[in-house]
Symmetry: C2
Subunit: 329 residues, 2 copies
């Protein structure tokens, strides 16, 4: 599973960080999902291998501008690139009103069908994608906000040898056919089915990617079985105290404490207030302050996302930074 961060700033873009957007896909496929679409997301995509033709769907966590104002332009450009396949957009109800109003008032003509899925339908049941099972999880913010979990659908299988032996199925070419999922007729005339003798070779990979949220604890259930959480960390604790509860964002300390409490293997922080500079000096707050705060309470694998970084969640459930998109102009 592969993540590409296209925007890691909160509220407004900076020279180095755009507003929220992250791509998620299986490393071996070209089809992908987009989670959030701040203004300028399509500009970031010009530098990536991800194409608008191979975009399978878009999840929008909430309707604040820094998470969705790039969507109309991205939809328009998908049309201009000749897309005809329907596109799924999953988001809160006002997002549909937003899109419909923009489409109508600006006479946007899409060359493909837009399939809007109201996010609350995913609170109880999975959205079944070719590669993923998607589920939504309610968060706490000034407007309805959601996290999305992406669970890998296809995991390698292995033969249930104990059961084969218990059922007296002799080793040999039959085992190979069963492993391919075929049905086989035994010498005694009984028909047995591969599906009954297959076990998952490992746990499916699972990532949870949150929208804006001031109560990380709401993701306790969503994180069961997850190897990685991507969560906003707009402030450090002291700044969060000064800013007060109005904005309803999380600080690094709260997110890291939560991740530690559920023994989460990997945590990626993102959505940083622009007051935290990339470069450190003695005068200004820096991204390092956020990192230090989180690392002080979280013992897992900690990352602070930067724009254009690519991460891989490997089959062992280990997340690692695998590279960076090369921005050539």
């Amino acid at each position: 599973m592969e993540l590409t961060f296209l925007g890691t700033s909160s509220g407004v873009p900076t020279k180095t960080r755009n507003v929220s957007a992250v791509c998620i896909k299986m490393a071996e496929t070209k089809d992908w999902w987009l989670l959030d679409c701040g203004e300028g997301t399509q500009h970031r995509l010009l530098h990536c291998k991800h194409t608008l033709k191979q975009l399978r769907g878009v999840c929008i966590t909430h309707v604040h501008g820094d998470h969705c104002y790039g969507l109309p332009g991205l939809l328009a450009s998908a049309s201009m690139s000749g897309r005809t396949d329907p596109l799924t957009v999953i988001g809160p109800q006002p997002l549909e009103a937003f899109l419909n109003a923009v489409i109508e008032t600006t006479q946007l003509r899409l060359t493909y069908e837009l399939r809007f899925v109201e996010v609350t339908t995913l609170l109880q049941e999975d959205f079944i994608d070719a590669d993923f099972l998607l589920r939504a999880h309610a968060l706490s913010h000034r407007v309805p906000s959601y996290a999305f979990s992406f669970t890998e659908r296809h995991v390698e299988v292995k033969l249930d040898v104990a059961r084969l032996q218990a059922d007296g199925v002799p080793p040999g070419p039959i085992w190979g056919r069963l492993q391919k999922g075929e049905s086989v007729t035994l010498d005694n005339g009984a028909e047995i089915h591969g599906a009954d003798y297959l076990l998952s070779a490992r746990a499916p990979r699972r990532m949870v990617i949150g929208g804006d949220n001031d109560q990380p604890d709401l993701l306790r259930d969503a994180c069961i079985g997850a190897q990685a959480l991507v969560h906003e960390s707009t402030y450090t604790h002291d700044v969060a105290e000064k800013v007060g509860q109005g904005p309803q964002h999380s600080c690094a300390l709260a997110v890291a404490q939560f991740a530690e409490s559920v023994a989460l293997p990997s945590l990626v922080l993102t959505h940083f207030s622009p007051r935290y500079l990339d470069k450190t000096n003695n005068k200004n707050a820096s991204i390092l302050d956020i990192e230090r705060e989180a690392a002080s309470v979280y013992s897992g694998n900690l990352f602070l996302a930067r724009d254009f970084e690519v991460y891989q969640l490997d089959k062992n459930g280990r997340l690692h930074r695998s590279g960076e998109v090369v921005v050539d102009i």
Copy 2:
């Protein structure tokens, strides 16, 4: 008068060119106007001296996304930068519906008043800005589209010596006071007023900046007294013929022929189809093709705009490329 191009591509952004936006201001002031606001305009502005606090107003030529999808994000960022001064937005009626719908569906809270001016009110009378007189001019496109002319309001004055002599006002310190616009009592007891003895030292500068348009000739009246026209030149003539009349854009040939026919001193072409590459090779169409075509029929001062270029229209009415915004990350 100073122009800064922030976007010179048509329809979709490319790696080197964003969608439409251009800043206009008097060289000596910090206040400025924005004409069109394609997605990503606020990102371009991060590299410029223009601030959202000193933005006096926005003119939108028409409601197609590549000319207005950056406006909601720019308005939001102006709020986040603490703007409290009212902001004027001039545009076609559907633009107001677009903005109101976006503001409502995405719960955008602006910290300042938005003053919408319906563009057709500027067809007959000037909008009076501190620096400019703005006028709108109807164009021909798939949706209602307009050009805006910016005419300098404050021109240096000189004394009307002939009239002073005819009225028997003797040379001396009195002339100096009249030139400052003061009222003066003569020895004979008559009061005379500076305003009655002042002439403009030169013609006011005037620029016309068009929106999308397939009939440059509609700007004939608007170009009277103008030193420069900024106009879309989406295609070369041959491509325009192939594409057909559907998109309702202009080719370089048509715009240049028009500019020549009205003896326009300077012409800036912009809004190029992404098929024209910046770099030339033997396979693809290039921006040079557009330049060659225009230059073949236009004998004035010809420019092909690039993102981040800055132009000055000097007091002699001569337009020249004065520099480039330095993009540092």
